[in-house]
Symmetry: C2
Subunit: 156 residues, 2 copies
């Protein structure tokens, strides 16, 4: 009984924590907010390593590896927020660039998710080696998986 009470309090705690993203999405805006948050978190970590790849900031092998691992971890997450009724023109009134054609091409959309997840995992592994050229090349491959999906399923 004590455990159950504590769990309830944990849930209440999470309810406080999730002011902007609600677990167990009942509403399209929750799913949209969730996926945009997850993609944004991934982008936050991708940004500095892309800057290193471009030479805009110095290569820091540890920092590159840490952020690459974060990109890989988060790359698995956004996709459960892409559900029917949450795309552009689905009448939910929430701002989203996710095209409705995602719903018509679930296999291809999933294939593109998997490409990102797989290549991001390779990036995290390669980054551990601390070889800038290898890491940069794999980062480029990851970027191409982003672009491949955006080209088909994201509004211009």
């Amino acid at each position: 009984m004590r455990i159950i009470k504590a769990s309830l309090s944990a849930a209440a705690c999470v309810a406080m924590l999730t002011a902007s993203v609600t677990a167990n999405a009942a509403e399209p805006e929750d799913a949209i907010n969730y996926r945009q948050s997850a993609l944004g978190v991934m982008g936050w970590h991708f940004g500095p390593i892309a800057d290193m790849a471009k030479g805009d900031i110095d290569y820091d092998a540890d920092e590159f590896a840490r952020r690459a691992q974060n990109v890989s971890d988060v790359s698995r997450l956004p996709w459960e927020g892409f559900v029917d009724g949450t795309y552009q023109d689905d009448g939910h009134g929430v701002d989203t660039d996710a095209l409705a054609k995602i719903a018509d091409n679930p296999d291809d959309f999933e294939k593109k998710q998997k490409a990102l997840i797989d290549e991001a995992e390779k990036l995290a592994d390669v980054a551990q080696q601390g070889d800038f050229k290898l890491a940069r090349a794999q980062l480029s491959t990851v970027g191409k998986t982003c672009k491949s999906c955006h080209d088909d399923y994201r509004a211009e």
Copy 2:
């Protein structure tokens, strides 16, 4: 040269991706948006396992384990968004519940982060065993680490 071009295109791709969360925060709102997104993503995954713990939904060992791993992975991420100049009353004009006293107690704040990260990692491990009572007990422990930090550093 080809690799560098590809990396640039990857960066451009991420720029598109991060409409709402910008890497390499230059502005307080970027850091606030980032940390709120990361905490929200964590809450999204915590929610359904808290619902299982409460008995509101059926226990699904695989689903519990998957979401517990996600909570653990994301638990490491929000903290770099808590930086000076991003707290309540710091004059940035962004809505945040993060109290300015965080800046005065960096060691304690970091200790509380570490408690969450450590207990969430244990949760991910325990959840793998598929024992509901053990997983529920550890979820409660994780919830207490949330609450401990909120009690001290989050606005009512």
